[in-house]
Amino acid sequence: MPFIPHTDQDVATMLDAIGARSIDDLFDEIPASLRCGPLDVPPGESEMEVTAALTQRARRDEPGPCFLGAGAYDHHIPAAVWDICSRGEYMTAYTPYQAEASQGTLQLIHEFQTMMAALTGMEVSNASVYDGASALAESVLMAVRANRRTRRRGAPSAGRETATTRVVVAGAVHPHYVDTARNIVKGQCIRLEATGFDANGTVDLARLEALLAEPPAAVVVQQPNCLGLLEPVDEVVAAAHASGALVIAVANPISLALLAPPGDWHERGADIVCGDGQPLGIPLSSGGPYFGYICTRRDFVRQLPGRIVGLTEDTGGQPGYALTLQAREQHIRRGKATSNICTNQGLLVTAATVYMSLLGAAGLNAIASRCHATTRKLVEELTSIDGVQQRFTGPFFHECVLDVGRDAEGVAEQTATAGVTGGFPLGRWYPELANCLLVCATEKRSEADIVAYRDILCRILIHPERPANGSASEGSR
């Protein structure tokens, strides 16, 4: 019996104490008609057997060099990060409701909040939400509550006429984030309206002005945007604030060690900063578990969803940590809570906190600048292939859109067959970019990786009749 420690003698003694004849007796309050027969699942296997079977599957997906980003990034993870996270004291603890028995997790989260506030240039941070996309959804709900003009009493109700609240999405924001936010907020009569991007791949400022004519609750802008490009964030903040809208920034935390933090944009800075913490020491792992972060200014802290840790004192006057502002949360406020969210992504926050401690500001900055330079090198090599060119010419961080001159979907597939994760075919998001691949090179990509990828891509594009998995480097200039 896997993981069940009872001996036959234990069972007999326990049933005797209860006064039951069999374990089955203990289910006598369940009507017989609702009992089920044996489940239609296979018999159990040993750990060794399961490991062997699933290892075989894992091997099928073992990736070659990864030039794909699009919201999840293949960074080096220091060995110490997951060695520490895998300690049972972190991995198998529950939510730190019993503060005195959870000072480890609580202090760690407080340190995390401090680091995230510093990175984003904001004053406060929560203890995380599920992922970057759900962080955006929660940030939209938060902005609607925090904006004086759109603040409402109580939530709208199905079947009743309720005025719609608008939120404007400026520029190229990750389509999966926008979809997620739309799906989560629509029950509360909040509508997202998108400016789209212009020929530069960044926000169409004229369209933004038009959408601000009737002021929305908030404007969302992603920096760097989902095409890797730097948005004119100062202009966006200026326009949004002038209209009375709050600004929600979506930011890659690694980029914040290099680029101007949202707290510094224009005069007042962004009002809410959110994003995905995956680049901070979390494996790609098919998309999760990652964590979403939300930081904001102190004035809005009571509208911030999710757990928050505060420093306090014990009865002896000694400092210690506890969850705080719990009156916002569902287990106290029930239907009037700021969100239904109950968990944070504690273990991933643990990874990110250890990661940021190991790297420090200088280390994060080195990684960010190295990613930028490596991606420039990648772009230089790939555009040396006939017919491959940069689609947009503006500055980028560590991702770039390359036009490969034909349907990028097939090209991405062929690079995968050749053993390289070659980039994201953007036609899946934007039909007008069907010939474009979004490519990324983190600090993990060596010059040899880049040259090998160039050769593979060259063979696919220039000599499509030859198998793409050879090693010769002919075909590029």
Binding site: I4, F27, D40, P78, Q98, T312, S339
Partner: protein
């Protein structure tokens, strides 16, 4: 508290082995760049490792302590499952990798969907939701999508028992519904007459946990299903307590239309100090078209993602990628180790342990909230007598229990039982551990009578004495060194 990571470093110090050579950024304009570096720790690798290793020792955890947290199912989290999810092919797979490089993962996702269908009696499963509360949101959004698709737009209410988890009404409100509470009777079952009176043409659905948060099986569930269905409403099953009936009874057979499963409870994935979890949703034929994406599909021997074109009525995606994929892998590894018989035994032994512990506590003089009922996998005891006689609260007793090296059960939940504990031992604990719990709680109860001050001022042996929640909220200190 121990010294903050911010107070043990020195300017210019760092973990040099983790730093790549900086790259050239001269092509970026100065306005785009950060002017002042963020204030992050400046410590050596050893300092960081030592700091976080020492902090970990200030936590209780399943690996260290008995953790009988009702409604949370703190069972053993198999290390084998953790190791499998960490295999390079799984940990390194990019979420947007091409199908040719995704067949291993998709096979696992598809297999998990099938296991959950079998365990719950549902027609289809989506493993996309990232936690129980997101599963609840998905389920209620599906109910709303179903009614809306039929043009049935006047249904405004979701019914929720007053004993329910706080996430239930909060999820209903997030989907634009009003949450209407119905009372739970003295026997722990929903007050059926009150329920009948509450159900009507305004009812979109009902959210129920079964066994309930009172630790008893809702005996009239079939009647409840009839009443709600007859009024055109739908039934949502909150899977928080599925561990109690795994392999014995299935929500799909009880009349539920849609449900979520907490993989971090029933399927033994680690709680991680407050997450990650995973909350897959299952639905019957009627609601299956509305399931959230992405899902895995199988055609012949090839796996693929369910595309928007395959699921035009879906409530859509709820995360950037495929939910908490690594948690889904852990749950699958666990499910395969259990197999058919192992799953049934989970429910059986969780129930055996709870009923044994309840009986031992009854005999030791503790007051049960529902003394006439069987325990499910958990049960409620109340200290209302002690509160009255000695001015002791359930929280005081909880804190004193920590001094015995036992994590305290939830206090004050369910909200309708005064001064209560909700106790869930899980199937992975030994009889000896349960006996030790009875001895510890008995000792604390003795102390309540002989030395109540000692209990009121507990804990006495932990890194912190009782922490001041009120001060934490009144005098907000949310980042280090800001005040």
């Amino acid at each position: 508290m121990s010294t903050s990571i911010f107070d043990i470093g020195a300017p210019g110090r760092g973990a040099a082995a983790q730093r790549p050579a900086p790259g050239d950024v001269s092509d970026l304009t100065p306005e785009a760049l950060r002017r002042k570096p963020p204030r992050l720790p400046e410590v050596s690798e050893l300092q960081a490792v030592r700091h976080y290793t020492n902090l970990s020792r200030r936590n209780f955890s399943i690996d260290n302590q008995f953790y009988p947290l009702g409604s949370c199912t703190m069972k053993y989290n198999p290390r084998g499952a953790h190791r499998i999810a960490s295999l390079p092919g799984f940990a390194g797979r990019h979420p947007l990798a091409e199908l040719a490089a995704s067949q291993g993962f998709l096979a696992c996702l598809h297999e998990l969907q099938e296991v959950l269908k079998a365990a719950t009696g549902m027609a289809a499963v989506s493993a996309a939701p990232m936690a129980g509360a997101q599963g609840e949101f998905a389920g209620i959004a599906m109910i709303r999508a179903y009614h809306d698709a039929r043009g049935d737009t006047e249904r405004r209410e979701i019914i929720v028992p007053d004993a329910a988890h706080g996430t239930n009404p909060a999820s209903a409100v997030m989907c634009g519904y009003a949450a209407r509470e119905v009372p739970v009777g003295a026997d722990g079952d929903v007050d059926f007459e009150a329920l009948k009176a509450a159900v009507g043409e305004q009812t979109a659905g009902i959210m129920l946990t079964n066994p309930s948060t009172c630790g008893v099986f809702e005996r009239r569930i079939a009647d409840i299903a009839d009443v709600v269905h007859d009024a055109g409403g739908l039934l949502y099953y909150d899977g928080a307590n599925l561990n109690a009936i795994l392999g014995t009874a299935r929500p799909g057979d009880m009349g539920f239309d849609v449900l979520h499963v907490n993989l971090h409870k029933t399927f033994a994935t680690p709680h991680g100090g407050g997450g990650p979890g995973a909350g897959p949703v299952g639905a019957n034929e009627r609601l299956a078209p509305y399931l959230p994406t992405p899902m895995a599909a199988k055609e012949d021997d090839t796996y693929r993602w369910v595309e928007p074109a395959d699921a035009p009525d879906s409530i859509g995606r709820l995360s950037a990628f495929a939910g908490n994929a690594g948690i889904l892998l852990r749950a699958l590894a666990y499910a395969r180790m259990l197999g058919r018989d192992g799953m049934r035994r989970v429910g059986e032994f969780a129930t055996l342990n709870a009923n044994y512990l309840m009986e031992r506590l009854r005999q030791a003089g503790f007051e049960l909230a529902y003394p006439e009922r069987r325990a499910s996998h958990e049960f409620v005891i109340t200290f209302r007598q002690e509160a009255k006689e000695f001015g002791i609260s359930a929280m005081d007793i909880a804190k004193r229990l920590l001094d015995h090296g036992i994590h305290a059960p939830p206090t004050y939940f369910p909200l309708l039982v005064p001064e209560c504990f909700l106790i869930e031992p899980t199937e992975t604990e030994t009889k000896e551990e349960l006996d030790a719990f009875v001895a510890a709680l008995t000792q604390v109860l003795g102390e309540v009578r002989t030395d109540p001050e000692r209990v009121k001022t507990a804990p006495h042996t932990l890194p912190s004495a009782r922490l001041d929640d009120v001060k934490a909220a009144r005098d907000l200190r949310l980042v280090h060194g800001a005040d």
